[in-house]
Amino acid sequence: MFQATIQEADGKAIFDKFKIRATPTVMMLEPDGSELDWIVGYDPPAEDYQAGVDKAFKGIDTYKSLAAQNAKNPQDIAVLFKLAQKWDDRYDHEKAADLYKQVLALDPNGTKGTTEYGRNKEQVSYAECAEFNIGASAMSKRPPDPAPLRAFVKKYPDGTIVKDAYTRMGSYYGRQAAKEDATKFFEEYTGRFPQEGSAYLGWANRVLLDKEPVDKGIALAQKAVELVQGRSKTAGYQTLGRLYLLKGDKEKSVETADQLLKAAQAPRAKPSEIPATRINPAMLAAPMAARIYADAGRPDKALAVYGPEFLEANMENSGVLGRYAQFWATQGQNLDSALAAAKKVTELAPDSFNSYTTLSTVYQKLKNYDEALKAAEKALSIAPAQPPQIKETIQKTIESIKASGAEKK
């Protein structure tokens, strides 16, 4: 077993050689260095993942076996489709699109076979799936191109995948498209799927981004929280609370943050079944609500939900502690507790440069520039060489701390 790490020079060269675009990726190689197969990403449970690795080593449905079948019979749609998926998995959307287009050329009407789609494993024609995948890939281009998915929803208005097409487009129209185009899109999306809470939430978030029309955004967010469940409900209340803040209605924003916390406390699993280090909804909800409380001028409520008591209950999760320290450093309040959190992060994750940049930030807020400098220098010493912007940013922070320290003296 060989490991290549992108931040190391030798590892980066291997990433480049195999054109790896995501981690984790596991690739199986023949002894001559040719590619047998690959698995990109990780889907629990671990047993299923291990079964996938075993299957690849046995040569079942590998890239190599599919490429050999394709060479023998280029008209086999199932093989073409599976090969395209292999390249899609590897984020090589250009190669995948070429193969999907071959599927469409051989079966333009979608009558020559089906494949399983989604969690419910519904049967969908290779052609419909290929068109959707081409459209979904176009959304990950820079800039994203929604045209293929727009065409897809017109061609397959009642298809199995149409809702997923709208969801994919929702990310683009929610953040990047022109305001007028976004409004038209969300009107269409919510019109076609009036019970789809995420459509209303996406639109409400777009209003938040545009900072208008606020009353419309509030109505959309209210509709979203009625319809969505679980983590999305918490996100819905967060959006609603921020919209009330935008409107200047601090009282309503505080009420909404209260509801957010209540929604996050809805039981999902027995507390004893949740490991202490696992991020649970309450851990995420507390900073969301605290931000609203703080912006609404209620630091007392922010402290009550996300103060020292929260810290004491979550001392084993470095990510949660790091966000806590950063939050209070930004607020310029509760700094002793933020410092305790930041120090604990360096114990839990001593090899991460982020641990020390967080500690440095808190010390800067406390105007303890000697300690801030020590922490930043430690961060610089362990930060990866790649990408170079990381060390450059820390170096700039060091200069800034030195200047502040000199000014203080």
Binding site: T5, I6, T25, G41
Partner: protein, 50 residues
């Protein structure tokens, strides 16, 4: 939905090897040369610091 959880994969690879992960020490070319002499395939793990 794919989740990029590098640590989980490393743990999984550990279980695959039924022991601690003993990553090959040396270059990839050396790993492939060794695989050739032993008639084995190479598992190449691409990872990044989190």
């Amino acid at each position: 939905m794919k989740k990029a959880i590098a640590l989980s994969v490393v743990l999984l690879l550990a279980s695959l090897a039924s022991a601690q992960v003993n990553w090959f020490k040396g270059t990839l070319d050396e790993a492939l040369a060794k695989a050739k002499t032993e008639n084995k395939k190479v598992l190449l793990d691409f990872n990044s610091y989190t």
